[in-house]
């Protein structure tokens, strides 16, 4: 539906995007994630045909965005970063304008506008001047304009930046509903943002893809790459008894146990194995052998946030030109 083939962008001597390739399947929501300055907006601008790449090419529904711009742009709904709008126009006027730019006739515009404003929660604001709307409502206007011509591909650049938590969850819900009928590329620098709505997450850093997969796949990869895989145990017994039961085991490196603060006889223990072994079964077996009752046992997973920080924390490139 949307493809990037080795997109590369140099700004003078600076390499912003480095041979980035991407392919989006129809009807899926893909989160495009990276820290600020990773090249997200530059990539998106090349995908939408706003910025020509230094090399490589981008296609929308099979149409090259540079050589067949009109055909490609008809397939695209785009919400640029910072959601530029004309503050002096009314919501209705602006949506009519957006529809006319896409060659929609009056009847088509009317029908779609009712649908789109309803969907974006703008039905009661259609006569309002855009400049007087709240930031969240402006964002809805931007989204409504992008949706108006019913494009198969939607590209949304940081659609929730600068919104308050309520507005964020509203916009997020709206975007999640769009999956299925539209192919959505959603950029963000906030992981939880994307994690909740995207079917697939592509993480970039320094203009390169550093991770690509479903949220579950990334979580698994995060586990696999985590050196320590500590096991957390809640057990009834004194910390000393827990330590004595577990330390003799071969695979266990350290045991850190402490009584639970509320005065009961429960105790929390963190067991760190040698290497990446899964020691949950051995721990449970040893504790029950010593007559200690286990209430909970769980392998601590490295969070996706940690994973995100780790993969995007690339050392600055030496000389960009080399």
């Amino acid at each position: 539906m949307l493809t990037a083939e080795k997109l590369t962008k140099w700004y003078g001597p600076n390499l912003a995007v480095d041979a980035l390739s991407l392919e989006l399947e129809p009807g899926r929501i893909v989160g495009f994630l990276g820290p600020n300055g990773a090249g997200k907006s530059t990539t998106i601008r090349m995908l939408t045909g706003y910025l020509p790449p230094t090399s490589g090419r981008a296609t929308l529904d099979g149409h090259d965005v540079l050589t067949q711009p009109a055909a490609a742009r008809r397939k695209l709904g785009y919400l640029p970063e910072s959601n530029p709008l004309y503050p002096e126009m009314r919501v209705d006027e602006y949506l009519h304008f957006a529809g006319k730019l896409h060659g929609m006739d009056r009847a088509a515009r009317r029908a779609r506008m009712d649908h789109v404003t309803d969907r974006c929660g703008l039905s009661k604001l259609r006569r309002r001047t855009i400049g007087r709307l709240s930031k969240g409502n402006k964002q809805r206007v931007g989204l409504a304009a992008a949706l108006l011509h019913d494009p198969p591909v939607l590209v949304l650049d940081e659609p929730t930046s600068g919104l308050d938590p309520n507005q964020i969850s509203q916009v997020r819900r709206l975007i999640r509903d769009l999956g299925g009928e539209h192919t959505v590329l959603l950029s963000s620098h906030i992981l939880p943002e994307v994690q909740r709505i995207a079917d697939r997450v592509v993480i970039i850093a320094q203009g390169r893809v550093v991770a690509d997969g479903t949220v579950d796949e990334l979580r698994q990869r995060s586990h696999a790459e985590d050196d320590r895989a500590p096991v957390h145990v809640e057990v009834r017994g004194a910390p000393e008894a827990v330590r004595a039961a577990l330390l003799p085991l071969d695979d266990i490196n350290t045991v850190d146990a402490a009584a639970e603060g509320d005065g009961g006889d429960w105790c929390n223990a963190w067991v760190v194995p040698h290497g990446r072994k899964d020691v949950r079964a051995a721990v449970a077996e040893a504790l029950s052998r010593h007559g200690l009752l286990v209430r909970e046992i769980r392998r601590e997973a490295g969070s996706l946030e940690e994973f995100f920080v780790r993969v995007t924390d690339v050392q600055p490139r030496e000389a960009a030109a080399s």
Binding site: Y50, L51, R73, P80, P84, Y86, E88, A98, L101
Partner: protein
């Protein structure tokens, strides 16, 4: 063409929404009224020639004030990104914006019509030169607005766009008006300068003459600046 009209209509609405538009309209009504009033006396010719000849100099400042925001506002607001990713090309954007400014300019010239009516009520003017003079003003305005669109596409700062177009227009008017008089200018260059001067091209219209060469001049210079504006808009994306 439909895309051009879409741009034109939005632009015209925004023009009339901006306070600058009304300042420009008021300044022109006042300025042209004064020029008309000076020549409106017993014994004077019942013609608009003096008024048009004075008013044409006002346009040096008023046309750039109309055109300065046309493209630079899109650049500074970032709305150009939405336009440029819609199924519409840079030619349609520039042409639509220029035409919107020209339509506004026609409204600006309305006080001249009122003055002509006043003249008709008190004397018997020859309407031929009034029409050709008005047509000449329209052509001059169209040219200046094309310069203005070009300057506006060069920067996202409206003030710089204004100053740049005043500067270019001054070159086409004042510079080419007075420089040919200088003794160091060789005769061949002098005649080229005189030909390229906007005011001399306008004079024919103001006398009541319609000369195809004047039309060719205005059409080609206007088209040239619009072409530059399109190229500037395109080039912003390649940088």
């Amino acid at each position: 063409m439909r895309a051009v009209l879409t741009i034109l209509r939005r632009e015209l609405a925004s023009l009339f929404y901006s306070p600058i538009a009304y300042v420009v309209l008021a300044m022109f009504a006042l300025g042209s009224g004064l020029v008309f009033y000076i020549g409106f006396a017993p014994g004077e010719h019942a013609a608009m020639r003096g008024t048009f000849g004075g008013v044409v100099w006002l346009l040096v400042f008023l046309a750039p004030a109309i055109s300065m925001r046309l493209v630079s506002e899109e650049l500074s607001r970032g709305t150009i990104e939405r336009l440029a990713t819609s199924p519409i090309n840079d030619w349609q954007i520039i042409l639509g914006k220029w035409l919107a400014a020209v339509v506004f300019f026609v409204v600006l010239l309305l006080p001249l019509g009122a003055q002509a009516v006043v003249l008709e009520l008190s004397a018997a003017p020859d309407w031929g030169p009034i029409f050709t003079g008005w047509l000449g003003l329209l052509l001059v305005g169209g040219l200046y607005l094309a310069v203005g669109v070009f300057a506006s596409a060069a920067t996202e700062n409206q003030i710089i766009a204004f100053l740049l177009s005043v500067f270019v227009i001054c070159g086409l008017t004042f510079l080419l008006y007075f420089l040919p008089e200088a003794s160091f200018v060789p005769p061949k260059v002098r005649s080229a300068m005189v030909f390229a001067n906007v005011n001399r091209q306008f004079e024919g219209f103001n006398k009541g003459l319609i000369d195809i060469r004047n039309f060719v001049y205005f059409a080609s210079v206007t088209a040239m600046f619009l072409f530059f504006a399109v190229k500037l808009l395109e080039s912003r994306r390649w940088r």
